[in-house]
């Protein structure tokens, strides 16, 4: 690993201005907090725009949204959903097929706020070193949760899932879930960089499978302009996805087709050479 820049994005801020160098980060935070807020105005002000939680929600008594991963586990236990849940799962799968599977992770999931904070603090405190674990571990965990659901007849993963535990907890009562979230935070801070979201979480792993086929991608029409400053590499939560497309390894086209790219857009922000843009995987590489 070559030298990781001390202040990734400094050059971009100088070139493009602070706002442009934080555009997607700000939009992402607005999205994450906005979604939480939409869910929270219900219990806070009795203003029921959205009911439910990320597992299943019903917006304005009109729009059902169902988490496909959870519904799959429920199906594996031998139980069938009702019509609204099926409509909801179709909408969600289609949506993420368009915008990218793991866009869920970067724009919706509340745990991302926690792990991003851990990662930010990790850099701030200069904590080096990180336990090594293969990034494919999450797929093993994903498989294990599916097998466990089928064998036990209960949605086992939901007993410990920090994602739904946090999201549900915020609107229905957190209980001891704060300790689970704290554990994830400390794990990411001290034990493993991008440990939870990048290595272990089966929810993200599931969405990445949808992301294999999704349309919206980070593209690199100007990859020749790259000056190897490593800023993108420093901010990317899934660093392994950048290199093939950036360097054209093995003739890789200038588009990040890796399923684990979360479409967070941070690389677009921090690149002073404007190498990265969002685009469709189908459009010509020129634009």
């Amino acid at each position: 690993m070559s030298a990781v820049p001390e202040h990734p994005g400094a050059e971009a801020i100088a070139e493009k201005g602070w706002l442009a160098a934080h555009k997607w980060l700000i939009l992402r935070r607005i999205s994450q907090i906005g979604i939480l807020f939409l869910f929270l105005v219900g219990p806070w002000f009795k203003l029921w725009i959205v009911k439910g939680n990320l597992n299943y929600s019903y917006t304005l008594d009109f729009l059902p949204l169902t988490d496909p991963y959870l519904l799959l586990q429920s199906l594996l236990t031998g139980q069938a959903p009702e019509k609204l849940a099926l409509i909801g799962v179709a909408i969600v799968v289609l949506f993420y097929l368009l915008v990218g599977g793991r866009t869920y992770c970067s724009f919706v999931c509340p745990v991302n706020l926690v792990t991003d904070f851990a990662n930010w603090l990790r850099a701030r405190l200069g904590i080096k070193g990180s336990a090594h674990l293969s990034r494919t571990t999450r797929y093993w965990v994903l498989g294990m949760t599916l097998v466990a659901a089928a064998v036990s007849g209960t949605v086992v993963w939901e007993m410990v899932n920090p994602v739904s535990m946090l999201h549900r907890g915020l609107f229905f009562g957190l209980g001891i879930a704060w300790a689970v979230i704290l554990a994830v935070f400390l794990f990411d801070l001290f034990v493993m960089r991008h440990g939870w979201c990048g290595h272990l979480c089966p929810v993200g792993a599931f969405y990445s499978l949808i992301g294999k086929l999704s349309v919206l991608r980070v593209k690199l029409p100007q990859r020749e302009a790259c000056n190897d400053c490593m800023d993108c590499f420093a901010v990317c939560p899934e660093q392994q996805v950048i290199r093939p497309a950036l360097k054209g390894i093995g003739g890789t086209p200038p588009v990040i087709l890796e399923e684990n790219c979360t479409n967070c857009g941070r690389c677009i922000d921090v690149c002073s050479k404007e190498v990265f843009v969002f685009g469709s995987r189908f459009s010509s590489p020129g634009k």
């Binding site: 219900g42 029921w48 009911k51 439910g52 939680n53 597992n55 299943y56 929600s57 019903y58 059902p64 169902t66 988490d67 959870l70 519904l71 429920s74 236990t77 031998g78 139980q79 069938a80 959903p81 009702e82 609204l84 849940a85 909801g88 293969s134 494919t136 571990t137 093993w140 965990v141 498989g143 294990m144 949760t145 097998v147 466990a148 659901a149 064998v151 036990s152 007849g153 209960t154 949605v155 086992v156 993963w157 939901e158 007993m159 410990v160 739904s164 535990m165 549900r168 907890g169 609107f171 229905f172 009562g173 957190l174 209980g175 001891i176 879930a177 689970v180």
Partner: protein, 297 residues
């Protein structure tokens, strides 16, 4: 080192070996995690007795697979009685329940919680709330139930939404006073919905009547059991030969009327059928032993 000498040009073999080792390690690690999770789930999915599921909930084992922990039932309950289990509570995290003693089910006729459920966890075929079986009320403590103590509390009976069907008051003699009546509340499982209103309303410090999940509250006869009186009714008559009339071996001239006047001396004309009546004994009360003569027995 040994490897190196053997596998000159077989980097592929090394890679394969590495791959197998990595795979095995991952499978074991994650498998262990899964085992732990499974064991934890075993302990944590048993429903505690104070937690009652919403109307129409599937049996517990199926419910924990069908429920997607979304809380729609909680949101659509107009009386806000439902909670989602927190991680530290001893049941499946995120599943809905209510505690009857805190807030019982109000038995809405349109059952909004069931309608809100996006899966089959709350059975959508339940349309009559009186047919729901959330649990079963059990009069758990006869020592503190005020009606058992001889008072006319009757609160559980009166508050019951299925009054006179789910709970009835059965009169019994108060053996303590000898002259009063106990009105014993009796729960009938064919009508009790398990809403928990009786438990909530019970005025004692700790409720004497409680709602339990059905698996705790209800017994079951063995399959081969038959209730004689039911079978008799079905068959339209006794299924066994009628009892032979009982013959009392009494002294001459005496009769016994079970449940009627008891022991009495038969008037002479009444017992002609008794064979071999010794002479001189057929009189009014002549045959009665001395001690039994008169009114006092």
């Amino acid at each position: 080192m040994d490897n190196d000498s053997k596998s000159k040009g077989s980097g592929r073999g090394n890679a394969r070996r590495q791959f197998l080792a990595d795979t095995a390690r991952m499978a074991c690690g994650v498998g262990l995690l899964g085992l732990g999770l499974g064991l934890y789930a075993r302990h944590a999915t048993a429903l505690p007795p104070a937690a009652i599921r919403p109307p129409g909930a599937l049996p517990e084992t199926e419910f924990s697979g069908a429920c997607i922990r979304c809380g729609m039932c909680v949101r659509d309950c107009p009386y806000d009685i439902l909670h989602l289990a927190k991680p530290e509570e001893p049941m499946s995290t995120g599943t809905p329940y209510f505690v009857a003693r805190q807030a019982p089910c109000e038995m809405c006729e349109d059952i909004p919680c069931v309608k809100a459920c996006p899966t089959g966890a709350l059975d959508h075929s339940l349309t009559d709330i009186n047919k729901s079986r959330m649990g079963l009320a059990v009069l758990v403590d006869e020592e503190t139930c005020l009606n058992f103590l001889g008072l006319r509390c009757d609160i559980c009976y009166r508050i019951c939404p299925v009054i006179d069907k789910a709970i009835t008051l059965e009169p019994q003699i108060n053996a303590r006073t000898g002259k009063h009546t106990l009105f014993i509340p009796v729960v009938h499982s064919d009508a009790c919905t398990g809403c928990g209103k009786c438990e909530k309303a019970c005025p004692t410090e700790i409720a004497a009547i409680k709602v339990f999940p059905l698996y705790m509250a209800k017994g079951q006869l063995s399959a081969h059991y038959r209730l004689g009186w039911v079978e008799k009714e079905k068959a339209g008559g006794s299924l066994v030969a009628p009892d032979v009339e009982h013959q009392y071996n009494l002294p001459e001239g005496l009769k016994y009327d079970l449940g009627g006047k008891g022991l009495y001396s038969a008037p002479p004309g009444e017992a002609p059928a008794v064979p071999g009546t010794p002479p001189g004994t057929s009189g009014t009360t002549g045959g009665l032993p001395q001690a039994l003569q008169g009114d006092k027995l």
